[in-house]
């Protein structure tokens, strides 16, 4: 489904990704871990097309398409979804309108008819249950005045509505209490299907108790330093990152 080869990217003058390769097949859950500044968030931001990063080498193909050549909206229309670490507040645009616009944009791109507001509301009811959100949240401006937990649940709600083929979760667990974490993880697990895949970026092993990965990868200084199965996450929890991470000077 996703084939990343020797990917390099920078932000401004700073090199962040320095040759990442990763292969993700349908039905798989991959966890990407690593210390702060390792590039793990950058990787998913680059895959989603954040203009703050510049790709300087390598490739990423998604179901045969050259992902990196597409603008962000076309990546989303092709089935890529990024759950933001810091969801953006948009005063003046209601959550309902935003969700319906996104939903209909993706339907249109697939050559399907737009859904009218009433039918969409029916569709939303089940989705709201999944993340334990009240329908009242739909009439509020996007993420405005939402608590940290509500923002993350809103991200998972969007994911539930858009039903992506590839979900990228960027530190979705950060700042969540255990109850919110369970709700978010339950949402992600419920949305998991044999034909979609998930990449979970996280700093902590804790999330992986709830979203169980098939593969765990460790990033350091923009490179993949170790890959393994879920037991790797437990090892990291016990030993920290230091045993895997060489001092940056040694890499130069």
């Amino acid at each position: 489904m996703l084939e990343i080869k020797d990917l390099y990217a920078k932000a401004g003058d700073r090199d962040i990704l320095r040759g990442i390769s990763l292969s993700v097949a349908a039905g798989e859950v991959h966890a990407i871990m690593g210390p702060n500044g390792s590039g793990k968030s950058t990787l998913v931001q680059v895959l989603a097309g954040n203009p703050a990063y510049e790709v300087t080498g390598g490739s990423a193909s998604f179901n045969g398409k050259d992902l990196l050549s597409l603008p962000p909206e076309e990546r989303a229309q092709a089935g890529v979804f990024l759950a933001f670490q810091y969801p953006v507040e948009i005063p003046g645009v209601s959550n309902a309108y935003f969700l319906r616009s996104a939903f209909n944009s993706i339907r249109q791109a697939r050559g399907e008819d737009e859904v009218d507001p009433l039918d969409f509301l029916d569709y939303m009811e089940k989705k709201l249950e999944l993340v334990d959100m009240d329908i009242e949240m739909l009439s509020r401006s996007v993420n405005m005045g939402f608590s940290g937990g509500e923002k993350k649940r809103n991200e998972i709600l969007q994911m539930a509505v858009l039903e992506p083929k590839l979900a990228l979760l960027d530190e979705t667990d950060s700042g969540l209490d255990i109850d919110a974490l369970r709700i978010v993880a339950n949402g992600v697990n419920t949305l998991k299907r044999p034909d979609n895949a998930t990449i979970v970026v996280t700093h902590y092993q804790r999330l992986l108790n709830y979203i169980v990965p098939d593969y765990v990868h460790v990033l350091a200084h923009g490179r993949m330093v170790k890959s393994g199965d879920k037991s790797l996450a437990l090892e990291l929890e016990a030993k920290g990152y230091d045993w895997l991470v060489e001092p940056q000077g040694a890499l130069a």
């Binding site: 703050a52 953006v88 948009i90 005063p91 209601s94 935003f98 616009s101 858009l162």
Partner: protein, 440 residues
């Protein structure tokens, strides 16, 4: 061309105006003399520093004085907010149009009067004499002077004491192809009697893209305890010039609520001045201006706190794209005796292109010591992260831009209390940059 207007004055004096009462002839004479002395303002004039009126002063416009012929009522549909039952007075190319106006005013029994100035001048000159020029001084204002000299028509709205109007009174100033190369000097007089409550809407609209000049003055009296909501909607032709001064005078415990919506005209200048002349008054001046291509849109507001214990609130927002130039000059003046004044003024601007430009100048002049006044202005661009966020959900770049632009304006539009007006202006705002039609 100053000389052309002086010729126009002579022609008016010897024809239509020759039978007018002396006081009116005096008003006109003073107007033309002041105009001849002042000439058109130049950018050296502090009030016109960012707006050159050379396109107006260098062109010649013929006076529009003849009445328009038959026009289908459906012509007005785009401008009536879907409210056919609102009382309305319609002016076409500067002259009152009976056929398009709605004469059965609810409230007529209680003394509500909505008439055209031309008729009032002829039939009730004493009424006009008591109002005309009483609130809008000519002083050093060239356009008001010109208006005083050459006005022929406009609206007179008298809301009787204690009257509460259930529906807005709509004044429509429509220009069509016959306005080409013409000028109309409209004079509107609005009187809100003691403890009355009403909404008056002035719409300046156009059919087609004629090149013409609207020079309007609106004088507003808000008597003690009255609340007047006054919307001005400027959707003139993209080739038109538009200069409009609204002068309001507020007596004690009155409220004046103003909204200025400006999207039309090649060059427009709207002055909204209110004088809080009694204690316990409130003034709310909000507005939204949007311009693109080569449009120039200028607002100047002046809130004079002349008495203690008054408040004023002002939010103006601007959205500028293409090579448009916006100007906002907002003054709040607090007299030495106006203690406990509570004033807040904000001007936020969104620039959508490299070549769009805004000059914003909020000014506080405070001569009292026990007041609470704040002001601020911002100029920004669309939030890149918000754009990426929307696009990452599949929303097209175009639609994301449109939604965020609309969202920028949404809160100020929400202050419009008349729902039909708010809905129409929200639609117009959303449509402005890309041609979409619905949001919620």
């Amino acid at each position: 061309m100053t000389a052309a207007y002086i010729e126009d004055f002579k022609s008016l004096s010897s024809n239509g105006a020759s039978l007018e009462p002396k006081w009116l002839r005096d008003v006109r004479r003073e107007g033309i003399e002041r105009f001849a002395a002042l000439g058109f303002p130049t950018p050296r004039n502090e009030d016109w520093h960012f707006t050159s009126v050379a396109p107006i002063s260098e062109a010649v416009f013929n006076p529009l004085r003849s009445e328009a012929g038959r026009i289908a009522r459906s012509t007005l549909d785009p401008f009536t907010f879907g409210q056919s039952d609102w009382p309305r007075l319609v002016f076409v190319n500067g002259r009152y149009h009976v056929g398009l106006s709605t004469l059965n005013m609810p409230g007529a029994k209680e003394g509500l009067r909505v008439r055209d100035l031309h008729t009032v001048l002829h039939e009730e000159p004493a009424l006009a004499m008591n109002m005309l020029g009483k609130i809008s001084p000519v002083g050093d204002r060239a356009f008001t002077a010109l208006n005083a000299a050459l006005m022929v028509d406009g609206a007179v709205v008298i809301i009787p004491a204690g009257f509460e109007s259930a529906v807005p009174i709509h004044l429509v100033f429509l220009s069509d192809a016959n306005a080409a190369k013409g000028v109309s000097h409209l004079r509107n007089l609005i009187f809100a009697g003691q403890h009355s409550k009403a909404t008056v809407i002035e719409s300046y609209v156009s059919l087609g893209d004629s090149h013409y000049f609207t020079n309007a003055v609106t004088e507003v009296s808000v008597e003690a305890g009255a609340t007047l909501t006054h919307y001005k909607i400027q959707r003139e032709s993209q080739r038109a010039f538009h200069v409009h001064t609204i002068d309001a005078k507020q007596e004690r415990d009155s409220h004046y609520v103003s909204f200025s919506f400006a999207t039309g005209a090649a060059l427009s200048r709207t002055n909204i001045y209110t004088n809080l002349a009694g204690e316990g008054c409130g003034a709310t001046l909000n507005g939204l201006y949007m311009a693109d291509d080569e449009q120039h849109v200028d607002h100047q507001t002046n809130i004079v706190h002349a008495q203690p214990n008054c408040f004023s609130r002002e939010i103006y927002k601007g959205i500028l794209s293409g090579s448009a130039h916006g100007v906002f000059n907002g003054k709040v003046y607090v007299h030495p005796i106006a203690q406990k004044t509570d004033g807040k003024q904000t001007n936020n601007n969104l620039l959508l292109s490299e070549h769009a430009r805004i000059d914003t100048k909020p000014q506080l002049e405070i001569y009292a010591d026990d007041v609470r006044c704040t002001h601020g202005a911002t100029v920004g661009r669309l939030d890149e992260m918000a754009l990426f966020y929307m696009k990452s959900r599949g929303v097209s770049a175009d639609k994301a831009t449109r939604l965020l632009t609309y969202a920028f304006a949404a809160d100020v539009l929400e202050t419009i209390e008349v729902e039909a007006v708010r809905a129409e202006l929200e639609r117009a705002t959303l449509e402005r940059f890309t041609g979409a039609s619905t949001a919620e």
